[in-house]
Symmetry: D2
Subunit: 364 residues, 4 copies
Amino acid sequence: MAQTPKRTERVAILTGGGDAPGLNAVLRAFVRVSHHHGIEVYGSEDGFEGLVQRNRMVKLTPGSVRGILARGGSILGCSNRANPFAYPTGTESDPYEDRTQDVVERLRSHGIDILVLVGGDGTMDIGHRLSQQHKVPVVGIPKTIDNDLGATDVTFGFDTAVTTATWAIDTLHSTAEAHDRIMIVEVMGRYAGWIALHSGMAGGADIILLPERPYDIERVATKIRQRAQQGSTFSIVVVGEGAYPKGTPSTEASPVDGHLPKLQGAAATLAQHLGAQVPHEIRTTVLGHLQRGGSPSPADRILGTRFGAAAADLCAKGITQRMVSIRNEQIVDVALKEAVQNPKRVTDSEPLIATAKAIGIEFG
Amino acid sequence: MAQTPKRTERVAILTGGGDAPGLNAVLRAFVRVSHHHGIEVYGSEDGFEGLVQRNRMVKLTPGSVRGILARGGSILGCSNRANPFAYPTGTESDPYEDRTQDVVERLRSHGIDILVLVGGDGTMDIGHRLSQQHKVPVVGIPKTIDNDLGATDVTFGFDTAVTTATWAIDTLHSTAEAHDRIMIVEVMGRYAGWIALHSGMAGGADIILLPERPYDIERVATKIRQRAQQGSTFSIVVVGEGAYPKGTPSTEASPVDGHLPKLQGAAATLAQHLGAQVPHEIRTTVLGHLQRGGSPSPADRILGTRFGAAAADLCAKGITQRMVSIRNEQIVDVALKEAVQNPKRVTDSEPLIATAKAIGIEFG
Amino acid sequence: MAQTPKRTERVAILTGGGDAPGLNAVLRAFVRVSHHHGIEVYGSEDGFEGLVQRNRMVKLTPGSVRGILARGGSILGCSNRANPFAYPTGTESDPYEDRTQDVVERLRSHGIDILVLVGGDGTMDIGHRLSQQHKVPVVGIPKTIDNDLGATDVTFGFDTAVTTATWAIDTLHSTAEAHDRIMIVEVMGRYAGWIALHSGMAGGADIILLPERPYDIERVATKIRQRAQQGSTFSIVVVGEGAYPKGTPSTEASPVDGHLPKLQGAAATLAQHLGAQVPHEIRTTVLGHLQRGGSPSPADRILGTRFGAAAADLCAKGITQRMVSIRNEQIVDVALKEAVQNPKRVTDSEPLIATAKAIGIEFG
Amino acid sequence: MAQTPKRTERVAILTGGGDAPGLNAVLRAFVRVSHHHGIEVYGSEDGFEGLVQRNRMVKLTPGSVRGILARGGSILGCSNRANPFAYPTGTESDPYEDRTQDVVERLRSHGIDILVLVGGDGTMDIGHRLSQQHKVPVVGIPKTIDNDLGATDVTFGFDTAVTTATWAIDTLHSTAEAHDRIMIVEVMGRYAGWIALHSGMAGGADIILLPERPYDIERVATKIRQRAQQGSTFSIVVVGEGAYPKGTPSTEASPVDGHLPKLQGAAATLAQHLGAQVPHEIRTTVLGHLQRGGSPSPADRILGTRFGAAAADLCAKGITQRMVSIRNEQIVDVALKEAVQNPKRVTDSEPLIATAKAIGIEFG
């Protein structure tokens, strides 16, 4: 925990990586509370882009963040690509270059005391390296819609994603039932199955397949047959995008026979395997970006507000190299480097798994 | 218009083809109004399945249809496959057989005076042939989520599908904007672009591609470039599932190079072509069955109620070989055979097209 | 139909009266299509306020109306009070004064060729008088959430209000059923019962009470008792805010015994009367402003877009003293003075009433 | 913690008090997991009514609870009135009688080993007394939409109520802004302000008034005036139904001048006081039962599922006189009598209050 000697006068904030519902709640609270502390705020547009390029820093006042609480996306814009340690050059021979000097120069020229990063492990890693290599004082705010960061109980965006996925499962239920079909719903989660687990339980799925371990197609088929014997001639299967069948490599694309690595996702792979096992019509739905968008849920707006406010408090106190986090409903802060370690996966000891199995959900 | 001599005492109803939001509103009103007229109602489960197979006819009373108005699907079940003129045998050598005698026998044994069919052109065609070849008195209720029947101004389910598609476009907007992306949304409509046109206009799409005519990829790319020049570095493209680029065969799968006829839909095809023309990241979302499900919109519940009530009135009067329909907000009825002709397509003279072009929407 | 001799170069637009979902769709389309025609647009803030006061006229460009399609309210603001013919003076002795000269002067100083009014009968009446007394060329766009204008088949905002009211009825259903209660839902409609009729039918109401004629409390109670005898121990009653029982004066407050004229609305009055007749617990819900707000439905966004585009076309052609309107799905225009006459009420010959009665809905 | 000697073979469950979103999730999980443990389940209709009256016990199987997860209300029905210790007699002279012997007899005749109560403090108090006075083995599941039980971190129904209230605030925002109005939204919470606090923060309220302490009308007016000076000519006020101004008695009706004790709620009282202080138009919306209804949120479905499953596990182990509860995301169980003590109120030390104040929310 580093202590900056002088009073914090001016900070910069950016939203890195993919967008998540609640980013605007973070920005609104951060700007309001910073203003309350007498700190000026600048925003870097499109993630680190605004710190690498010129004229992409905008001043953020309470007026700038008015009316944004209920809106998805980020008023600052996001970027998955703008990494100042490996910035695209546009040339093929030498595709990436180090642009961190530009970042440091931009921060200096704007008189920025602390850089606040809202992002996932990629963004936090950049922040950690900037603080190590260039002495940039950094405060982090965790963002991952998959909720797979070990350093915090929960992240904003996850509740909204689960809500959207649950709505989708609800919506598909009536068609599944009317037509005696297998409905496969692919939800986000390349490495962690939290969205699949929560939306599957909330949506009344019969089968949930997680990316954490390969599934046994025979068990899936058996569950479907058992249901048919009991008079339920349809089934709902929720599958995380990184889930794959036993005996195949664990890439997210799960190529079954070496073909189609880009076109075939988890739902298509499952449909192909399952089609050989059960007589039902099978339909797949891939929710994709629908889970990132839309107005954030109340819980995500509140969590984003708490994170934004807490980060502004850290800035006011001059506490840096820390990331805000929530533990047992209390806002705390953890070492920035901790954030880039310890992913949170769905393990067999997860209590929700036991409950799900007790009510009859099959995990393959 | 045939007039049955005796008073109608008992009727059967079925929901054929794919499900659509509002089917339960139809059934509820049909049963209630038939009850009001002193007519008994039987329901055939899973479309024509219940008339081909034994023990699949259920008595429907006002109690049977309680609490179903707000629910998607059909309490009777639907079937796209159970065609009594070509019923699957399960044998490879002779895959289909005529089972219309079973239907006629089932109707006779249950004492059914009139058969009421809720369905699209396939179902109406079966009804027409049953009435021609077997003297079955038939009343039709039009159902097509694509709203592509010339015989009626509008069908139930369409408004709900447009509402869901518009919600999806709204949801994708924030991510498109935050990341400067092209978001392609594929909506239903294999031959008719009504859902694409309505949801595209309601969702603020920049480009709408209809199945009615091949699009010019160059015009699409030009629109995106123009927007970028004016400072809008993202674009929303709504594409009907049957839309295809100029110079390719007009199948809905639109195979570009002869491969992947099943895997590549309209959105993927467009993404592939567009990727060669513009520098943006492109993301596709295929809404699929989400558009069929969910609670029907108020307008669809009311339209379904009106259709169901009107069909019961026709039954009470003994008027058959007619399909109910809506014209200028008035419920009317048309000859059953008319229903299987005259599809309704989006033409260049459609007033909405002119309005859409005037506000700057590009149709490729 | 007056024809202005010169080309239209600059127009002003305002949104008068109460807000309605779809106003921003109107403004967006009007500005875009005007821009397309080479016409400059100014907006008057807060209805006529911006034409009476100084410095309340804002230039509207395509950029000004970006991103507003899905938003409720009006970016220009509305006002129910700013009537230039009777503008509040703030003094008690002489509370109103004529400020129409200020309006005329403001229009002249801004070089406005045509004044476009989005509003209900009050706003259209002001427009008609401005055109008569001050030769102001006026184009009207109808706005009434109650859908009670005879001059147009439908107005934007109505579908959204019905959707919200139907959602509320759906939501109250489960509690009504769980607790064997009478749930009374008061919806908008002081003089016309269209929202009550449509949301009542869509929400599965058992009883609908319209402002068009006094209801018989005994008939309401009888319906509830009949339902109880048939095993449905709960009932849903939808009541328009202007509905009142037989034998009481027809004001919307419906004071029963001379007391509480302001506090007691239609739902409270009904609850009081009904409480003496049936043993059930009764709960009331007054939806109020919830019906005006929120994101407009797709149908309202499209209708608002069509109206805004059509008004811009009239301006471009120099056609004034007309109001745009929709007839059998075609956009037309009617004389402005017609708009302030012929309210549209729910009459006994309304086809929906017959359908509603046939499915068992009681109208008291 | 009492240990029943024999294996649990048959249990009864009831849903007492007011309904809450998630009750059906509880019932579904309880029945499924009991079935898994080989335990038969009976349901008592309408709370304790089914145990006092004859023929109101229904057998619940996995088939009985199919398709109910997403539905509001309770398939068993609820009752606020059926207290077996003070059961309504229907006579005025002696209005209540003790019917606990009937409950005991009904449990014995059905062979019930354990009685499972889903309810709030009133229901738990009855359960505690039944176990004390009649040796009835009881397991409790906490239910209070207000989230005011000290014995559990959170209860199901709360998240849905907050979601509905937040939607309402979002919806009213556009009208408030378009008309420069004060919008007062009254939410549930007679003694605890959790719904007001959460929905107010999530909805972007400017002022939140809690029932826990009287508010200062002058501070409320000052906040509104400050906002007006900064250009925000509208304000959103969220008020818990039990909130009242300083200097008035703390009943929830908050009669200002001795009149209208039943008609005037918290919103009306505030509007009356505020009207004398600020020049704005003021509008009130009372959400009431809308907060109890509708499809439960995903979080409430999951929490209800966890509670129901945990209660079935307790039954299987023969552990009674305990109530299930959640602490730091772990399901635990607490003594039944603890549940009827220690209400959870919003105190000044609540972290959300500090965050809310830091972003500028006024608490009066």
